[in-house]
């Protein structure tokens, strides 16, 4: 890494960095945490406020339950194992208050309300078990013991004890607090507009920002749904696209009304239908504050307009699973944009077209869950350590021939 002296001190006294992380969402935060733990000098830049992008607009499910065996499941398994250890280490380092993330290993429950999806769900769970997932089929009537208010129309149910949840903004800000405590720097309201390359015209030697240039040895593109735009600006286009999602929040309910994260198994029949205009699947979970979150819909594009038919479909799906929710007021609706790639796997690693440009993005509806392993994997690759998950399926180069 070569940094030109005269290019230092551009951003209000911020000198050069080993790594500039672009984006302060959960993924950028996790990367910065893993990098600083390895002693890297990190500068995190975000054009908006801290952790206020997609990370502040979704839910905090950490799931293995919905994933078919494959690289995505392997990353999820690694990440779900990693989260509690990472949070314990942060508690140690920062003290309990600043590391509080409302982490809860509450387990997931996937239910089918008709026979075809029941059959599919059982087969799906069997395949997951073969891949090492703890997927416990519940006997007829047993689901009611797990979720007393669940519809009696359940035909099959699988319990996933490994599923957990946390609060994404707390998690991201805790990770960034650790970054700061280790001497990392964080600046918001600074847009990264492009990269600077060295004499070879390829290798990154700095970034251009709305406040000047910052010399650096590496840049991490953790721009979430805007990662495609940043990649293009960096001269290495990447097919990361947004899919809008909406969530409903109810008034607080007595604890125990909804105990797990519960969702409909209808998904087993149709996985990966990314191109449909709009899809809705019911996911119901309670937060520590007692409110119930009801997700979630999918619609292609950056259009944030609220649509009443989407709210209606979400409500209908939730009421179908938990009839008791029918009388509960919905207090709030919000939404964000999931960053997805054509093969629905994230991109983690260095871009062969632009040495020094790294990507950590494209996590779609699972960026919170996958962040812990993503940050670690990126830092391992950056430091030349043996990676704890196979990085091959997540390489940036896999889209090289795709037209976009």
């Amino acid at each position: 890494m070569r940094v030109l002296r005269k290019e230092r001190e551009y951003i209000n006294g911020a000198a050069d960095a080993d790594v500039v992380v672009v984006g302060s969402g959960i993924v950028g935060a996790a990367c910065a945490e893993s990098l600083t733990r390895r002693g890297a000098q990190v500068l995190v830049l975000d054009r908006g406020p801290l952790a206020a992008g997609t990370t502040a607009c979704g839910e905090g499910n950490l799931l293995v339950s919905g994933r078919a065996p494959g690289p995505g499941l392997a990353l999820a398994q690694a990440s779900l194992r990693r989260w509690p250890r990472l949070l314990a280490a942060l508690r140690e380092e920062l003290g309990p208050g600043r590391a509080e993330c409302e982490y809860e290993a509450k387990g997931g429950l996937v239910v089918a309300t008709d026979d075809p999806s029941g059959i599919a769900l059982r087969a799906f769970a069997a395949a997951q078990r073969a891949a090492g997932v703890d997927a416990r089929e519940l006997a007829q009537g047993e689901a009611a013991a797990y979720e007393p208010h669940l519809t009696p129309g359940v035909r099959a149910a699988v319990h996933y004890p490994e599923d957990a949840q946390l609060q994404p903004v707390l998690a991201a800000t805790s990770l960034l607090a650790a970054v700061r405590a280790r001497g990392g720097r964080i600046r918001t309201d600074v847009e990264v507009t492009g990269v600077e390359t060295g004499r070879d015209g390829q290798r990154i030697v700095g970034v251009r920002t709305s406040e000047g240039r910052v010399p650096c040895g590496a840049v991490v593109n953790a721009c979430g749904p805007w990662a495609g735009q940043f990649a293009a600006a960096a001269g290495a286009p990447l097919p990361v696209l947004p899919r809008q999602g909406t969530v409903l929040v109810t008034a607080p309910l007595p604890h125990g009304t909804v105990r797990h994260k519960v969702y409909d198994a209808g998904y087993v029949r149709a996985v990966g239908n990314a191109d449909a205009a709009l899809q809705v699947a019911a996911v119901v979970e309670a937060t520590q504050a007692g409110t119930v979150l009801i997700g979630s819909s999918r619609r292609a594009g950056f259009d944030a307009t609220l649509r009443a038919d989407v709210l209606r479909a979400l409500a209908r799906g939730a009421a179908r699973l938990f009839p008791v929710l029918g009388g509960v007021p919905v207090m709030r609706a919000y939404g964000g944009f999931r960053p997805y790639t054509p093969d629905h796997l994230p991109v983690v690693g260095e871009d062969p077209r632009r040495p020094g440009l790294w990507h950590a993005t494209g996590h779609e509806g699972a960026g919170i869950g996958l962040a812990a392993a993503t940050g670690e994997l990126l830092a391992e690759l950056w430091a030349g350590e043996p990676p704890h998950v196979d990085p091959e399926p997540f390489r940036a180069g896999r889209f090289a021939s795709a037209a976009f």
């Binding site: 406020p49 801290l50 206020a52 502040a56 607009c57 499910n61 799931l63 339950s65 919905g66 994933r67 999820a76 208050g97 600043r98 609060q167 903004v169 800000t173 805790s174 960034l176 607090a177 918001t188 999602g245 409903l248 109810t250 008034a251 209808g266 998904y267 029949r269 149709a270 239908n273 449909a276 205009a277 899809q279 019911a282 996911v283 504050a289 409110t291 997700g295 979630s296 307009t305 609220l306 649509r307 009443a308 038919d309 989407v310 209606r312 409500a315 209908r316 799906g317 939730a318 009421a319 929710l325 509960v328 007021p329 919905v330 207090m331 609706a333 999931r338 509806g365 699972a366 869950g369």
Partner: protein, 504 residues
């Protein structure tokens, strides 16, 4: 409907039946538009409409607001009483909007959900009292000045036997009078500002407020004097005390920045009601849902009440606080402008051969100009009022570590500071998730603005998204079952098979 046209006149939907909304409905209807006037309360008149109540033989009867009669006799207006707009959606064509509403008492189950398609939308949702936090403000007995006055004038009931009134603005005077009127002992009116400033531009007050305004203020002052109510400027209630409810207050003298002057604190007891009002906060969720630009807490409008979104107009306290007459003038202009634009749009459509004009009689330019002049004078009055009653930041010094800033979620000043300073949450959206301020029952209506100001003070710079807490795409709670509709699944969003939840 006038004229033989088979195509119905365009539909103007007016949300809010206060002085602004009622006037907008009347002026649009009189120009030939069909109007649906929606308000969550039962009566026409808005907040001001609560005032006229009379007692005959010990019975409280509410007096009919003059606007109520006018609206009732105008056959082109359909008044949807007790109807709350819970969401807005653009469509089905540019300039048109879907207005989702629900009718019936707020707590009922199975309130029907209905959708109107507005050819033009006039938003007149008014404003609500602003409260500033201080130690003890969460105690029962501490209420907004508006609530105290509504109770006094609507129900002929005093919030307490020994009350104090604290805040800023001319509105404190009628509140105190209404309390006296229903037999409360008012221990004092504490005006945190220095309204002598008002007199620095008496010419403006006279011109824009009209002599009636000054006379009104004068009569309030006289009323207070008769009731022997002490009126102190540069003073405020900076703490309330009590175990289960308010029993005493601390009043302090304030400097020009509203910092308490050390040593000036005085304890008043016994006190069983504290009425607080620091001006008003516009009810912004519908304009924000429609995508209207908002500046300094008010909806941005042009000289004809049009917002930055085609087909959407705003009037009344959404655009500035200047009292009922000014709101009514804005409403009238908004209704006229909506019709004028619709007539133009129709003409364009007719030229394209799709829809002939249908019974609209757009207002003559002279009429528009006359109303616009009244609106401008009202707006000058509002600006003078705002200048005379600023809310400087010294109130932050009233707070202690454990003072609640968000009452619904019981978030303390210390917790808020931690979220900003220790966690680095420098935007409102992340901030509310980092400390829960604004996530409770009122959805940030009470604490949103205060939280944004506190955060800005910690950061030493304004927050990037000050209106994030005013953004409530779901403008009002709706029961999940009502939202879901009948359980037959009819009208499902899509026949696409559902997909996995957020796992990929």
């Amino acid at each position: 409907m006038s004229g033989p046209s088979l195509i119905p006149s365009p539909l103007v939907v007016v949300v809010g039946a206060g002085p602004a909304g009622s006037r907008a409905a009347l002026s649009a209807a009189r120009c030939g538009a069909r109007v649906v006037l929606v308000d969550s309360s039962e009566r026409v008149g808005g907040r001001y409409g609560r005032r006229p109540a009379a007692v005959t033989d010990g019975e409280v009867t509410s007096v009919t607001h003059p606007l109520e009669v006018a609206v009732a006799v105008q056959h082109r207006i359909e008044h949807l009483a007790g109807a709350t707009v819970w969401a807005l959606e653009p469509g089905p064509a540019p300039g048109r909007h879907l207005v989702h509403l629900q009718q019936g008492p707020a707590d009922d189950r199975g309130r029907p959900v209905r959708t109107l398609t507005a050819d033009a939308l006039v938003l007149c949702t008014g404003a609500f009292d602003r409260t500033l936090p201080f130690p003890g403000w969460e105690l029962p007995g501490v209420v907004t000045a508006g609530a105290a006055q509504a109770l006094a004038e609507g129900q002929r009931t005093a919030v307490g036997a020994r009350a104090v009134v604290s805040g800023t603005g001319p509105f404190l005077l009628p509140v105190a009078l209404s309390l006296l009127d229903v037999g409360a002992h008012v221990l004092g009116v504490y005006e945190a500002g220095n309204p002598a400033r008002w007199l620095r531009s008496p010419a403006a007050a006279l011109r824009d407020g009209g002599p009636g305004r000054l006379a009104e203020l004068g009569s309030y002052a006289a009323g207070l004097a008769r009731g022997r109510v002490p009126y102190r400027t540069r003073h405020a209630v900076v703490a309330a005390h009590g175990r289960d409810r308010v029993e005493a207050v601390t009043v302090a003298r304030l400097d020009a920045g509203w910092h308490p002057v050390p040593g000036s604190e005085q304890r008043l007891a016994p006190v069983d009601a504290v009425c607080v009002g620091y001006g008003f906060t516009p009810q912004l969720e519908l304009p924000l849902a429609a995508g209207c630009a908002v500046r300094d807490g008010h909806v941005v409008i042009d000289g004809r009440q049009a917002t930055t979104v085609p087909g959407v107009y705003a009037a009344g306290e959404l655009t500035g606080i200047a009292g009922a007459p000014a709101a009514a003038a804005e409403g009238e202009l908004a209704g006229l402008s909506a019709v004028a634009d619709l007539a133009e749009r129709q003409w364009v459509a007719a030229a394209g051969g799709t829809a002939p004009g249908a019974g609209l009689t757009p207002p003559p330019p002279a009429r528009l100009a006359a109303v616009a002049a009244r609106v401008r004078s009202g707006q000058r009055f509002g600006q003078a009022l705002a200048r005379a009653h600023p809310v400087p930041g010294g109130w932050r010094g009233w707070l202690r570590e454990d003072t609640l800033v968000c009452r619904c979620e019981e978030v303390s000043y210390g917790e808020l500071r931690d979220a900003v300073v220790a966690r680095g949450a420098d935007g409102m959206r992340a901030l509310k998730l980092a400390c829960r301020a604004g996530l409770g029952a009122c959805q940030g209506r009470v604490c949103g603005r205060n939280t944004a100001e506190l955060a800005a003070a910690f950061l030493g710079a304004p927050v990037a998204d000050p209106h994030a807490m005013d953004r409530r795409p779901l403008a009002h709670p709706v029961r999940l079952g009502d939202l879901a509709g009948p359980p037959d699944g009819a009208g499902d969003v899509t026949s696409d098979p559902p997909v996995s939840p957020d796992t990929r």
